[in-house]
Subunit: 340 residues, 2 copies
């Protein structure tokens, strides 16, 4: 496999390396390296010659070698739970785009479970591949713990992972979002608002529930139900809720569950929004076409992702801010809510 002593220059057998380019251009390897990394330090003339050689040989720098000597890899990692869910998927996508603009590649590590262990393990997997930094998208209580004892030398940024984090973080202000959703229903004249929450220990679920509670202060607060984010769980809990004739308004913690819930109500003969108003959360692209079109709370995942990347970039160049940024969600009123 090695270039045996053959007197002829080995053709396209092995990928060209720096030395080959240097030879062809009649310069030293170092000069080639400079052309690639700091072109302004090389005379235009030489540069052109080198570039031509690069072109001719189809040379591509060996990433591992460069990484070995510079200590940077140009890759950043994203640890996420279920990249199939709308939120994480959108965030990931935004991160990837932001990263690309800065010439970073993105490595993903999705988690089997959301436990302290598995988060640490995910970060570790990435770290072994020497990523330059990690963004963690784990909207679960366990995130805070999982991030507690990380190697301090690895820049980490969290997305949507709760309050008391030891690292820079970006999050959507779900409390505010929930308050807006709930107030909207109250302002329509409903005496109280029921709540279908997300699964226990999910940060988003908790924050939204707290926001709902907060907005309901001074009123009767009905016991919340919990789903698992799926339309199916919304349907199941919806069937239960639809048996209670006093229910006139429901704030559902995400859109798919709202969809399921509305179906259950409809099947039970309760019209939305005439008999009961429903507000969702997320504003998935389909929400505007649910039946009826869903009033919901829009999260700007693109901004979230971009901000996360920015924060990570800051951390990577040294700024040791433990900054925490917040993205405001927005209520989108459509036709699933109406005056009492």
């Amino acid at each position: 496999m090695t270039t045996s002593s053959g007197g002829e220059p080995a053709e396209r057998t092995k990928a060209a390396v720096l030395e080959d380019v240097a030879g062809l251009a009649g310069v030293s390897a170092m000069t080639v390296s400079r052309v690639l990394n700091a072109p302004e330090k090389v005379r235009p003339e030489t540069r052109a010659r080198v570039l031509a050689a690069v072109q001719e040989l189809g040379y591509r720098p060996n990433f591992a070698a460069r990484s070995l000597v510079t200590g940077r890899s140009g890759v950043l990692g994203v640890v996420s739970f279920d990249t199939t869910l709308y939120g994480p998927a959108s965030t990931l996508y935004a991160i990837e785009r932001a990263a690309r603009e800065h010439d970073y590649l993105v490595n993903i590590a999705s988690l089997e479970a959301m436990t302290r262990r598995s988060i640490a393990e995910g970060v570790d997997r990435l770290r072994q591949q020497s990523v330059d930094g990690v963004i963690v998208i784990v909207p679960h209580e366990s995130a805070a713990d999982g991030l507690r004892d990380l190697p301090p030398d690895l820049p980490v940024v969290d997305v949507g992972g709760g309050e008391r984090l030891s690292v820079p973080a970006v999050a959507v202000d779900h409390h505010a979002g929930a308050v807006r959703a709930t107030r909207h229903l109250l302002e329509l004249g409903h005496d109280t608002v029921h709540h279908l929450s997300g699964p226990a220990n999910w940060i988003d679920a908790n924050n939204r529930m707290q926001g709902w509670r907060h907005a309901l202060r001074g009123r009767e607060i009905p016991p919340p139900l919990a789903g698992d984010w799926s339309a199916n769980s919304g349907y199941e809990q919806g069937k239960r809720l639809s048996r209670d004739p006093s229910v006139t308004a429901v704030f559902v913690a995400n859109d798919p569950m709202a969809l399921g819930l509305m179906r259950a109500f409809r099947e039970a003969g309760r019209r939305v929004p005439e008999d009961v108003s429903v507000v969702g959360y997320d504003d998935v692209p389909e929400a505007a076409h649910f039946w009826p079109p869903l009033t919901t709370v829009r999260q700007n995942f693109a901004t979230l992702g971009r901000q996360a990347f920015q924060l990570l970039l800051n951390r990577m160049v040294g700024h040791d801010t433990s900054e925490r940024r917040t993205v405001e969600p927005e209520l989108v009123v459509r036709e699933s809510t109406s005056r009492r």
Copy 2:
């Protein structure tokens, strides 16, 4: 935490390297390397000592160094267009899981556009980071071209990228899926079936359209409409279609568009399924809770992703098969279709 072995100088300043571990364990670096890569070649006793040293120093192998010498990186790349769409997201997720089981990490490169250029560029981005192989998820006509002139040394597998590909590929048999969907409607007594297709030049869209055409042989084939996969486009085209009273059955190329279309029909006073039957495609998790619950064609993205990874693994160990595997979709009958 760290061992409280006081008095030791220069702790936790630099990450430990092989040599450090070797020193602590009283062996050579090579032996440490062996313990990590071929434990059976080291006496249990020594192995234990080394492992203890690894533990104590919190040693992690330097990926770049290893990669430089072995020529393998343990990373594979996925080139995809829009990882926000249900299909690609699910496929990506499945690939990631399969990869993890085999200790591979996944690098993603999403594309700005689907052109030959941009695909080549995406593969290139990944290649520069020396991925061991690439899976391309680009369900567009341009994929075939984009994959034509790839470096032959890089293992590449395609997912859902059309017929005449120069690389191993996995794909869902959309033709069959569309035939099933269309036949289902015909069997329910509809004279013909209208079609709302995906955007031009998307492989899936074309295949489904062809399947639909095929199933309609010998009958009047109404001119198909085209959307852009979004619920919104389904709504717009639905409005148009709902004005034609002769329409009694529609096969829609994906579920979100079907959702939008059903909304349009409903708003136009045409009941689904009493007046018009609708079949979607994808079976997104929400489809069962649309109103009415959507009859659709289920694609098994998990299988698709797993197979893609398998194929890539084969190619990476040398098997130069240009194998092409097919995954069969399945019709799921729910309540959006009924007898004429």
